[in-house]
Symmetry: C2
Subunit: 227 residues, 2 copies
Amino acid sequence: MVSQSAPNGTSRERLLAAAAAEFAARGFDGAKVDRIAARARINKAMLYYHFHSKAALYRDILRQMFGTVAGAVTAVHAQGGPADVQLRRFIEAIARAAEGSPHFPAMWLREIAEGGRHLDESIVLEMRRVIEILGRILHAGRRAGIFGPVNPFVTQIGIVAPLMFFSASAPIRERFRHLVPARVVAPRREEIVAHVQATTLAALAAPRTRAGAPSRSRRPPTRRQRS
Amino acid sequence: MVSQSAPNGTSRERLLAAAAAEFAARGFDGAKVDRIAARARINKAMLYYHFHSKAALYRDILRQMFGTVAGAVTAVHAQGGPADVQLRRFIEAIARAAEGSPHFPAMWLREIAEGGRHLDESIVLEMRRVIEILGRILHAGRRAGIFGPVNPFVTQIGIVAPLMFFSASAPIRERFRHLVPARVVAPRREEIVAHVQATTLAALAAPRTRAGAPSRSRRPPTRRQRS
DNA sequence: GTCTATATTTTGATAGAC
DNA sequence: GTCTATCAAAATATAGAC
């Protein structure tokens, strides 16, 4: 697991690892090619020998990361099984991918905030593969009668956001550890995954009625928040 | 209300609005003081008249944003009521804060990825106020017998992450609208809030099984809130 | 493939007039 | 409070030797 200083591999591999770390920690503009090169123990000119530009390097890293995730969830779906089991595995696969490339969550969060300015179509298509798989799992579950109807994108956000948030926030939690209770800063990884699995399946288990027609008590009837 | 080009208010107000937009869209390093000044229709020197540095400007904006959220959830808690109702309002309040200052979600996502490098203690203390309120609500619900035991931080992530993800991803969804089905890019805001409320309460309604046993036998509870 | 030097722009910040 | 002019440092990218 090459992570911080990327001490192993070819110069190109070290470069990719160093750049991922730098982009994740400082963002596209905050990442400096000098620092990336130094971290990879290569010269700055070598960076431009391997990649056309800083942006191209960035895109290659992100494309590879999303490709890995897409591959993982595709494998999950190909494995088959009941829809709820597939969904659990889908969630697990995404969590695993976040661990496998530890700089992925931070880069994803940043790219969202960035409005996708550095994404090209090929990268977005990898992202689309992921949500397509989720859509199929949800559809299968619906036909099997174990899932209610939901918007796949809403479900996707409910899954991905907490997982990425949790992974990416490890440094900030560590940094301000002294200001918050210990249990708060250090939930176990399995706790998050289990929580996401439980909440996602709970939302799917209850058959959703069409908009605004609570045939069964959809909300607590006592209080209606907001007016 | 003032959002993009901040055409109104004093020069200081325009500056703050322009800076928030710029920091949200480009990040701390990507934001350029020249652009901020131009956007606020002031001179760059005016920026340094009002703020000691780019970093100080950034921190003031973030502190104000977190302060607003903390104030909103504090008001929710002070209002009292059953714990489940308070929790719904807590979630609603955070969603509302994200709408009230539309650049808040992107800045938050970035700051997490950044490892909190630009945060000072006063900002983190505002963040802590939020999770403390949540902790109290969860505790009250537990004592009332309507919530099971949970890690407040896990719950907090499950609430905040989807809400911030959704708000911050509006630009990227718009940008790549042509690559994904229409319904996927445009879920309604209420859909997300309702989803977060439903999933969070579902996770709390079920008494937790013992740690680390998310085996497939565990069925998601049917959604049922008491009132 | 790898490196040293350097060109060219951009950028955060300030001085000082009004 | 507001502006013009400007500096000094930093940053992306390239040229060209080995």
